[in-house]
Amino acid sequence: MNRLGSAIAIAAVTLMPALALAQEITPEDIIRNAMDHWRGTTSQGEMTMIIHRPDWERSMSMQVWTQGDKHSLVRVTAPVRDAGNGTLLLDNNMWTYSPKINRVIKVPSSMMNQSWMGSDLSNKDISKSTDIIDQYDHTLLDSREVDGHQAWVIQSIPLEEAAVVWGKEVWTIRDDYVMLEQQFWDQDGVLVKTFTTLEITVMDGRTVASRMRMQEVDKPDEWTEMRVESTRFNVELPANLFTLSNLRNPRQ
């Protein structure tokens, strides 16, 4: 990416909140912007996932490519025994590839609720796209100061026919569209799990959440952390990146 590009990107990131506030932004837009924010039009990055349990902990390094919110590819690079495992997301469909069995498997709907690579995130959590925003009723609950920023607290109640089990979700989003926290509440009004941002850093000119943790309230000793080691936005991606053949035979 050239200098000009990043300058524009920085300008856009810094200007956007101001513009948004001026235009009476709707809670829906805030969530959409927050989801778009960390994805960018395209991105390429490295991530570490740490799965913590009371008696063990393991970490996995992976490379991530995204394009919009419908195309993403994740490939595990370490540890050796998991290296090469890949996940491809295309338009709400999900495929996995494991070099050990040399097979590409389409994840069937029956497995969407299962854990993704043994973490506390389900396949569904991973594959969720911005489409789902339309299936909620969003209301702005609160607007408060966090670390010198303004932060919106938005409550989202799923519509009657939405494919969402939660009673409500509560988002805390900073005015620069960094998601600070996402809470999942059950239908009795009990908090079930939270996805919290623990660290925020500037990467490739954008302020992004770089350490996030998924934690169930009932199990304080069990959590999954995602650490973004590095990421670049708006990169040129080869046209064949998000294809099944590339999932099986990596060419980048």
Partner: protein, 413 residues
């Protein structure tokens, strides 16, 4: 001819009197036969009751006695293997005797999730009125209500499933399945009713939603997975399922329950062989007593038999006489035993409460009440077993008695 009839009546008199010469021994033997026959019939009735109950319960969950499917549906019960809703000749057949109820339903594997858990289930898209005609009892819906029509927007789940999902009435859950193009089809749906079933496994497996609702979710149009048909008598199904098969045509697979559920059929077959085995085992124990009694009776009368032979009685007649003694004993035992069994079973036909061992029976697919069923077949079978095996057992002492040498027999002290 006259001589034969006379000798037959003499033989009968001799046998009858001999039998009551030692009335204690005969009495004990009679009691043994009566108890044996009574036990045979009682066991058969209990086992039949159990098996009938299992079959009826199995057919209620199958459901129906005959089902029509896409030929590939039974191997791959996916939404892609759907069929058109019944029409024309098939529809006409379904609405007349002997068919008493039928349902065009969707049955596909699905996932159901709540906030706490998710489970694999069988999603049934049904028309509630048809489902009730097929044997679903709306009184089994213990909380909330059953569906109100094919386009009902609610979901009815089993009590055990609700417990596992930690969900309850009036809460939303998400059902997820696949449309014919293998894309994820999912939606939130509210639990409007919770039903209880005789078996916990049914409560865990089946979830009911409106047929039109499921068709819309899966993009099926008006197509269905199966047509389930009942005639209310599972033994009579052989008489009419072929006509349904003809009306459904060669492109669809029409099968009676015996082929749909091999387990139920083998249970039925097992029941018959089980009854025979029990009867033979009981009789084997009994036959030792019978042979012993007859051997003793012959042994006591060696001199007497020798005398009769010396006076000109043929060996064959001696044998007939002993067999006749045995036959009288057996027939007396059978009559009393059958009457006793009748008197025991008839009052029990309303059901015996066996809920104390319900958990174990549950695994075998049975409920907690046992309804003994007395069948004429059992009584005939036990009679046949007792008479045939009884006479066979008596052949040995009878044969020995007829082979005595009169001189030696008379000389025996």
């Amino acid at each position: 001819m006259a001589a034969t009839r006379l000798s037959a009546s003499i033989l009968l008199t001799l046998a009858w009197r001999n039998l009551w010469r030692n009335y204690r021994r005969t009495g004990i033997m009679l009691v043994a036969i009566v108890v044996g026959v009574w036990a045979m019939i009682l066991f058969s009735a209990l086992i039949s009751g159990m098996v009938d109950e299992m079959v009826r319960g199995g057919l209620r969950t199958l459901p129906g006695e005959v089902q029509v499917h896409h030929p590939a549906y039974r191997d791959d019960p996916s939404v892609a293997n759907s069929i058109d809703a019944p029409e024309g000749a098939l529809l006409a057949l379904l609405n007349q005797s002997p068919v008493t109820g039928w349902a065009a339903r969707i049955r596909v594997p699905a996932m159901i999730s709540s906030e706490r858990d998710n489970r694999g289930v069988q999603l049934l898209g049904v028309d509630p009125a048809q489902e009730i005609s097929l044997g679903f009892d709306p009184a089994d819906v213990v909380q909330g209500r059953f569906l109100q029509g094919p386009d009902d927007n609610g979901l009815v789940i089993g009590r055990k499933l609700a417990e596992q999902l930690e969900t309850e009435l009036d809460k939303r859950v998400v059902i997820m399945s696949q449309d014919p193009d293998n894309n994820v089809a999912e939606r939130g749906i509210r639990v409007v009713g919770i039903y209880r079933a005789r078996l916990q496994s049914t409560e865990e497996l089946n979830v009911y939603a409106g047929r039109a609702t499921v068709q819309k979710l899966l993009g099926l149009g008006t197509r269905v997975s199966e047509i389930a048909i009942t005639g209310d008598d599972f033994r009579a199904v052989g008489g009419w399922w072929r006509t349904i098969e003809q009306a459904a045509g060669p492109d669809l697979e029409t099968l009676p329950w015996m082929q749909l559920d091999g387990y139920l059929e083998s249970m039925m077959n097992l029941q018959t062989s089980y009854n025979v085995i029990i009867m033979v085992v009981i009789f084997l124990a009994l036959s030792f007593g019978l042979v012993n009694t007859l051997v003793m009776a012959v042994f006591e009368r060696v001199r007497e038999i020798g005398l009769m032979m010396a006076l000109g009685m043929r060996p064959g007649w001696i044998m007939y006489q002993i067999l006749l003694e045995s036959l009288i004993l057996l027939v007396l035992g059978l009559v009393i035993g059958n009457l006793l069994a009748l008197a025991t079973i008839l009052p029990m036909e309303d059901g015996i409460d066996i809920s104390a061992v319900a958990a174990g029976l549950e695994m075998a697919g049975m409920g907690s009440t046992l309804y003994p069923t007395l069948e004429l077949q059992h009584m005939l079978m036990s009679t046949a077993v007792v008479v045939v095996l009884g006479l066979l057992a008596s052949l040995i002492p009878a044969w020995r008695a007829s082979r005595y040498n009169p001189v030696q027999a008379l000389a025996r002290t």
